[in-house]
């Protein structure tokens, strides 16, 4: 057997005709697809203020934590030089449980972004379309 014989074997492939139902089945699936609601986009516009707030809260949380650690290390003496206004804000934030709120927001944001990445990853595998 030569490579030409391989060519001949392949050229002997018989043609098949799609069944009469095929067109209808395809169009049914296309219509179903068209009627399906598009996937919800992430509402960045609405989420942005929350994300900014979360970033500020995280900054405050880190600041308070650092201050507490420094305070503990100095055995009860706060040595960090911070503007008095900021210290007031930190005290108020600490009293209002801002640290926990910030932690909650950060955890939510991280879990949402991880979930989005996972979904996008599987969509990329499923919809492996060339550009």
């Amino acid at each position: 057997m030569t490579l030409d014989d391989v060519d001949r074997l392949f050229s002997d492939y018989r043609e098949i005709t799609p069944s009469p139902m095929f067109l209808g089945r395809v169009m049914d699936s296309v219509r179903r697809e068209a009627q399906a609601l598009p996937p919800l986009a992430f509402p960045w516009k609405w989420a942005l203020p929350g994300l900014v707030g979360a970033a500020i809260a995280a900054f405050l949380f880190v600041g308070v934590t650092v201050q507490l650690i420094a305070k503990g290390a100095a055995d009860g003496q706060v040595t960090l030089s911070m503007p008095s206004g900021l210290i007031g804000i930190l005290d108020a934030a600490r009293a209002g449980g801002a640290g926990w709120v910030a932690t909650g927001i950060i955890v939510s944001f991280v879990s949402a972004s991880v979930a989005t990445r996972i979904v996008k990853h599987f969509q990329a595998i499923t919809n492996n379309i060339p550009d």
């Binding site: 057997m1 392949f10 395809v26 699936s29 296309v30 919809n127 492996n128 379309i129």
Partner: protein
């Protein structure tokens, strides 16, 4: 098949007239089903695969940038769908009884011999690694056109040539091992 018809139908679909997609399916159902059949060698499955390819094309219709013919884009979409399906089918060993049946078949019954040969060839193709299977299938489907095969696969023509050469050689060796020889059959 008119490229202008394809473009007009695509425009209508994108404008919201879903029924225009029917024209595209009508024109391309036969090639897509046949391409799928060559990938899976199963008639029922080939229609399922072609249906999925059309649905994928519908979803991503906006991605057709009209730089290439609609058919080129459609075949690339379909090839991607079929390749992923093909890769889900593991390469398999040809059962020994099929080889025995082929060699022991009545030499005077040419119809049976042809069927046996087809089945054995199909099995040998299915037993090839996916990268060789897909390039062989597309090369012969596109009428021995390396450029069209490369476009469908989205790889350079050199890659197609290399895989084609290696795939054909591997297939030839396997077919010889199965006792298949078109020349011998013609003589008998």
């Amino acid at each position: 098949v008119s490229a202008a018809d394809d473009e007009a139908d695509v425009e209508r679909v994108l404008a919201g007239d879903i029924s225009a997609f029917e024209g595209l399916v009508r024109r391309w159902q036969r090639p897509l089903v046949n391409l799928a059949y060559r990938f899976c060698l199963d008639r029922g499955r080939s229609e399922e695969m072609a249906q999925e390819a059309f649905l994928r094309a519908y979803r991503s219709l906006r991605q057709w940038r009209k730089e290439a013919a609609f058919s080129t884009w459609l075949f690339a979409v379909a090839t991607n769908v079929y390749r992923s399906k093909l890769r889900a089918i593991p390469a398999r060993m040809v059962p020994l009884e099929e080889v025995t049946q082929l060699k022991d078949s009545d030499p005077f019954d040419s119809r049976l011999e042809d069927e046996d040969r087809d089945r054995a060839v199909h099995n040998a193709v299915l037993a090839l690694p996916a990268r060789y299977r897909e390039v062989l299938v597309l090369f012969y489907f596109h009428g021995l056109d390396i450029a069209a095969t490369a476009r469908s696969l989205g790889v350079p023509e050199g890659t197609v040539k290399a895989r084609l050469s290696r795939g054909k050689e591997t297939l030839r060796n396997r077919l010889v091992g199965l006792g298949i020889s078109p020349l011998a059959q013609k003589e008998s």
